[in-house]
């Protein structure tokens, strides 16, 4: 089997996906689910080889621990039913303690494997640095592990399943293979979205027949995603690689431009991949959760994170933010602080502790590097400051008679949010924290338009024609986004038109990709960015 490097590769779009669709369509209902599972494992094995054992171990252990929890819950319920009213409270606490221990064991096991494989070398490297700083001559051997694909994604799915069984939100699944399909489904295992068991496991196992409408809608979404990647993300790649690798040879204007281009590339790569992933799943009749909702229309950083990588944000909210802020010590702090500091700053004090944990984990989740942790802390500070100064902003805008819902004010907020996001992405993409700061400093200390005036700007990886194509594609995506913001369902609208209009739209999009796609000699396709996290 040819190697699958990303969801945009010919091996995926031209071989694995069509082959799975054909086998799935030809197979009887009871076989379809097995076909999905076998192709999912084949996909995993074709990329990670024998590392598939990590995935299989996760499936086995999650299934077993889920059933263990369920057994303890049933046993606890039986004992509580038979107990006297006076004994119930103590018995309930005892049963819950047991269940919490099992759930914690399961969560620690999975997070522990992820920490060891992904962060082990980073931790040891930093321990050695501390030893050196203390003048100790101890040098621990830095381990090196091969990472199975999607481990950051399927681990979070596994932990959410265990939490949800523990909280009795879902019953433990008796079928190990249904759970296996939920964790291994090939279109989403490499880059998400991070699904919840109750949202997708049933639909996947049901294995509905392929419907014409789903096939058309799915293919349209895949085509749109391919356009984002091939026309935009890949075209921007040379400029970004050049500037971020040799940042010391470029001035502040070029660095600022490349920070904007990288933000655009990351959005196009990740949201384009999500279009392919969600479109692929739709063909099989499975509705995966959306990961993006036009993030660059956001007016604040908090709103941005409700529209960008949505499933990661909701995962951290449900399994880190609320459990922490609802813990006994923080609840007490909230109550006390609210009485002393009022309704705004009181909850903010305890909320900021939980928020810190969320953004530390969010930064670290993206990779083992200090610049990723800095990226998390940067967004933590922005959200915290945004919340802290909100009463002041309300008062100032009120006194100046500025309408917060007016178009100019909303545009100002949108542009300000986008600039703050681009600064964060500069650090995110930089080769290290030191490089990030050096690049950021250059924007202010070495800003000159000389490269634009003498036209050398067009020799760094993108010429005038490239910029024009990027502009047209961004405009197209902006118009589509604007229509979606207004609640217009474009695919449904197109389906209502006659065949001539529909096919004209398909041909136009295909031709746009074929003519303006950045492929062939002279271009280096971007590696799937989120698959590396």
């Amino acid at each position: 089997m040819p190697s699958i490097s990303s969801y945009f590769s010919l091996a995926y779009l031209g071989l694995l996906l069509p082959l799975t669709i054909v086998v799935y369509a030809a197979a009887p209902q009871k076989i379809r689910r097995w076909a999905l599972l076998i192709f999912s494992w084949l996909f995993f094995w074709s990329i990670s080889g024998k590392l598939i054992v990590y995935l299989l171990f996760s499936i086995l252990s999650v299934h077993h621990i889920g059933l263990w929890l369920s057994m303890l819950q049933e046993e606890g319920d039986r004992l509580l039913k038979a107990a006297d009213r006076g004994e119930r409270k103590a018995l309930k606490a005892q049963c819950q303690r047991k269940q919490r221990m099992v759930m914690t064991f399961g969560a620690c096991l999975h997070i522990g494997i992820l920490l060891l494989l992904k962060y082990g070398p980073f931790f040891v490297l930093n321990i050695n640095r501390v030893f050196r700083a203390l003048g100790l001559h101890v040098n621990l051997t830095v381990p090196s592990f091969a990472l199975p694909i999607g481990i950051s994604f399927y681990t979070l799915q596994a932990v959410s399943y265990l939490f949800d069984v523990y909280r009795r939100k879902i019953p433990a699944d008796k079928s190990m293979f249904r759970l296996a399909l939920f964790m291994s489904f090939f279109p989403q295992i490499m880059e998400g979205p991070i699904c919840r068991y109750e949202d997708t496991a049933g639909e996947l196992w049901e294995a509905e027949p392929i419907r014409f409408q789903n096939l058309v809608f799915g293919a349209e979404r895949i085509l749109f995603g391919a356009m984002k990647e091939l026309v935009l993300a890949d075209r921007l790649n040379l400029l970004i690689q050049n500037v971020f690798t040799n940042y010391d040879t470029y001035d502040g204007f070029v660095i600022a431009l490349s920070a904007v281009c990288y933000t655009l590339q990351l959005y196009m790569d990740f949201s384009g991949t999500m279009d392919i992933v969600i479109g692929s799943a739709q063909i099989f009749g499975v509705t995966l959760p959306e990961n993006f909702r036009r993030p660059f229309f956001s007016r604040t950083i908090s709103e941005f994170w409700k529209r960008w990588h949505i499933t990661l944000g909701t995962w951290f909210k449900d399994y880190v933010f609320f459990p922490l802020s609802m813990s006994k010590p923080l609840k007490k702090l909230t109550s006390r602080a609210r009485k002393r500091l009022g309704n705004h700053f009181g909850p903010l004090l305890s909320g900021s502790i939980a928020l810190f944990a969320v953004w530390f984990c969010n930064g670290l989740w993206h990779g083992a590097g200090w610049h990723y942790i800095f990226f998390g802390m940067y967004h933590f500070c922005l959200i915290l400051i945004g919340n802290m100064i909100e009463p002041l902003v309300l008062s100032v805008t009120g006194k100046l008679h500025i309408s917060r819902s007016s178009l100019p004010y909303r545009c100002f907020q949108i542009v300000r949010t986008a600039v703050l996001v681009c600064i964060g992405e500069l650090f995110f993409r930089a080769t290290g924290l030191r490089a990030g700061f050096a690049m950021f400093r250059k924007i202010f200390t070495n800003f000159t338009l000389a490269t634009f005036r003498d036209r050398t700007l067009f020799t760094f990886g993108m010429d005038q024609k490239d910029y024009l194509i990027v502009f047209i594609a961004v405009l197209l995506i902006f118009v589509v986004g604007l229509l979606q913001e207004k609640g217009i369902a474009i695919r449904e609208k197109l389906a209502g038109k006659n065949l001539a209009v529909q096919f004209s739209a398909y041909y136009a999009l295909v031709l746009f990709i074929v003519i303006f796609g950045a492929y062939g000699s002279g271009y280096v396709p971007v590696d799937p960015i989120y698959a590396g996290f």
């Binding site: 909280r167 609840k331 109550s335 609210r338 309704n343």
Partner: protein, 77 residues
């Protein structure tokens, strides 16, 4: 509907109309921080334990749903 519940809600977020609004979370009247404050206050006022599993938009979208959650948790206790 409990009068005290409306008072607590108005203390935390005075801008919403709690008699009619059914989209307190969906329309961002109650954000994560208001929910933290609300849970701490409700637990103290009604002597209940609100587990994390109950922190879902459906329970917090209207005063009526909140009251239903409170009475259910009181009964379970």
């Amino acid at each position: 509907m409990d009068k005290r519940l409306i008072e607590i809600l108005e203390e935390i977020q005075p801008e919403a109309d709690y008699e009619t609004c059914k989209t307190l979370v969906d329309d961002h009247y109650l954000d994560s921080l208001s929910i933290i404050a609300l849970v701490a206050e409700l637990e103290e006022e009604y002597d209940i334990m609100i587990p994390t599993v109950e922190i879902i938009p459906e329970n917090f979208n209207s005063a009526e749903n909140l009251w239903m959650m409170i009475t259910r948790l009181k009964e379970e206790d």
